[in-house]
């Protein structure tokens, strides 16, 4: 019962709070004490390095922060081939690119960088990038 009363009072206060801030009796004060749950996330601090007096200088593994690729046909083949040399942030970082540009990027990986991708797989990769990462098709 007490809980319910609290909720009801709470509801009225939510409604009220804007009014209070908007019409403060202190001249010039428009809002104060506004908080909201952060939506951007927070970043944990890293721990101090473990060190020794020998000749070895090291840091820990480099962390990966790889966004999800768009769900769809061809995604798996991308995961197999593109991730061999680089993470797929190399795709998600790009601006939406025209289909022809994606095609030349994939061809560059094969012809210039020597990526062992069969013609059929290359076609699927290009199709996937066209379907989800051009100015007309990119969503995320």
């Amino acid at each position: 019962m007490k809980k319910v009363r609290c909720i009801i009072i709470g509801f009225f206060l939510v409604v009220l709070i804007g009014t209070v801030f908007a019409e403060s009796e202190i001249p010039g004060l428009i809002h104060s004490g506004q908080y909201s749950q952060g939506t951007l996330g927070s970043v944990r601090q890293s721990s101090p390095a473990q060190q020794s007096t020998d000749g070895v200088y090291n840091v820990g593994a480099y962390p990966l922060y790889t966004p999800e690729l768009a769900q769809g046909e061809g995604r798996e083949i991308i995961q197999i081939f593109c991730r061999f040399c680089h993470s797929t942030t190399y795709i998600t970082m790009q601006p939406p690119l025209p289909a022809a540009t994606w095609e030349s990027v994939v061809n560059k990986m094969i012809d210039i960088y020597g990526a062992p991708i069969s013609e059929d797989s290359a076609r699927q990769i290009i199709n996937y990038l066209r379907t989800y990462y051009t100015p007309l098709t990119r969503k995320q």
Binding site: V15, T19, A22, S36, T39, Y57, Y65, T89
Partner: protein, 442 residues
């Protein structure tokens, strides 16, 4: 009295204050202003706290990136403060704008750009040697201790800027690292002159270039650009006399991600030549034709390296390796994050640099680039360093203002008001602008 208030699912604790007196609350309930108040809350909070509650989009384009930095998330890496992510494997991280208020960029905030996936996590200085070899009288293998003790140490303040810095401004957009303006940094580098090392090994006649290779490797096949990252400088290039092999950066060992144990410092040239984790210095008899010299990091042989997609597609464009950094300047504050009250003197501050010689003039404009005033230059740390600038601007009236900054170097090069376009996304140096809002103060 304590009040528990539920806003958007979150329970907040409000201490009793004069503002929230019981009488006052009752008055408000009686006043029937309930819904009106709620409506007012929403847009106001978006405006006031938008920066901390709403995120940037996860990508920009097909238009130009309108933000100063790139739009990636803040991420944490070893020996680094939170930096802006471009990619995670290989690692590319951008320095946030506010670090450029100082003439020297902290090591922990210095941007990161690797080309290949296998970058060093651990290096043993007991075994590591810098190898100076090739077309020389006598090859040398030098330990870190040898470098520090057998050669005269020299220090130089120099700007390291990625060739593709500001690539996200290009129209049409080009593939590649979508940097904002933060793929640059200035540091005091200390190390050994490349010339001293070359003299120590004795360069034989018939030599044309010096090639540099670091510890990084890629998973691609040997002989391809995806396997190793190789860069070369011509022996006749005057920069050879100024180049150093640095073992210190801002008075500290280099961060692993910035090229520990030593990196090449090529003052005035783009960072593509500043080989990280440098381990091989090879004197070549023939010009280097590897991918990273012949194909990558090449610019059109045109004024400003400017061309069009049409010319590229028609195969009309002669490409040459990128070289020195064109003059640039940046507004660091005001950054548009706060409204400025009219008549308040505002300190506009930033940095400028040029790879072609000392910056001699920085001009500031508050009307979008019609009228320019000279800014005051900060301390001179040498011709290859960031030069800070500062000026005081007093906005007389309310309104939206477009601030601009333009630098000129000792050779008379100045920043143009046009962008540039080339397929690599290099050499951007258009005049920078910052929009600010001036509000009423009376």
């Amino acid at each position: 009295m304590r009040l528990y208030i539920n806003i958007g699912g979150e329970v907040m604790l409000e201490e009793k204050s004069g503002l929230m007196s019981r009488r006052f609350l009752l008055k408000m309930i009686g006043g029937g202003a309930v819904l009106l108040g709620l409506n007012k809350l929403t847009p106001a909070s978006a405006q006031v706290s938008g920066q901390a509650i709403e995120s940037l989009p996860s990508f920009t384009g097909p238009d130009a990136n309108p933000y100063w930095n790139s739009v990636g998330s803040f991420v944490v890496y070893p020996q680094k403060l939170p930096l802006i992510q471009l990619t995670d494997r290989p690692v590319q991280l951008e320095t946030p704008r506010n670090y450029f208020l100082a003439p020297f960029t902290p090591n922990a905030a210095f941007y990161v750009r690797w080309h290949l996936d296998e970058i060093p996590n651990a290096v043993s200085l007991s075994d590591w040697r810098l190898l100076v070899e090739g077309n020389v009288e006598k090859s040398l293998a030098l330990s870190m201790s040898d470098l520090m003790n057998q050669f005269k140490p020299v220090s130089i303040a120099a700007v390291n800027q990625c060739s593709g810095n500001s690539r996200s401004r290009f129209q049409p957009r080009v593939p590649g690292g979508q940097w904002g303006n933060g793929a640059m940094g200035n540091a005091l580098f200390t190390g050994v002159r490349l010339k001293d090392l070359l003299n120590a090994v004795g360069v034989k006649t018939g030599s044309s270039q010096v090639q540099f290779e670091g510890l990084d490797r890629g998973r691609g096949p040997e002989g391809k650009g995806s396997h190793s990252y190789l860069k070369s400088l011509g022996l006749s290039d005057p920069v050879i006399d100024e180049t150093i092999v640095a073992y210190e950066m801002n008075g500290e060992p280099l961060p692993m991600l910035n090229g520990f144990p030593v990196r090449l410092v090529v003052p005035g040239k783009f960072a593509t030549y500043w080989t990280k984790a440098l381990t091989w210095i090879r004197v070549l008899t023939e010009p280097d034709t590897n991918y990273w010299m012949a194909k990558a990091y090449c610019i059109p042989n045109t004024p400003r390296g400017n061309t069009t997609p049409e010319n590229v597609n028609e195969g009309k464009v002669e490409m040459i390796p990128i070289g020195s950094m064109p003059v640039r300047s940046f507004i660091i504050t005001p950054d548009g994050s706060c409204k400025i009250p009219e008549e308040m003197p505002v300190s506009a501050r930033g940095i400028a640099f040029s790879g072609y010689g000392r910056v001699v003039k920085v001009e500031f404009s508050w009307d979008g680039g019609k009228f320019w005033t000279k800014a005051e230059l900060g301390e001179d740390y040498g011709q290859y360093s960031f030069r800070t600038w500062e000026t005081t601007w007093i906005p007389k009236r309310t309104g939206k203002y477009v601030l601009s900054v333009r630098a000129t170097d000792v050779k008379g090069n100045t920043q143009p008001d046009e962008g540039v376009w080339n397929p690599g996304g290099y050499l951007w140096n258009k005049i920078e602008r910052q929009e600010v809002f001036v509000g009423a103060a009376k």
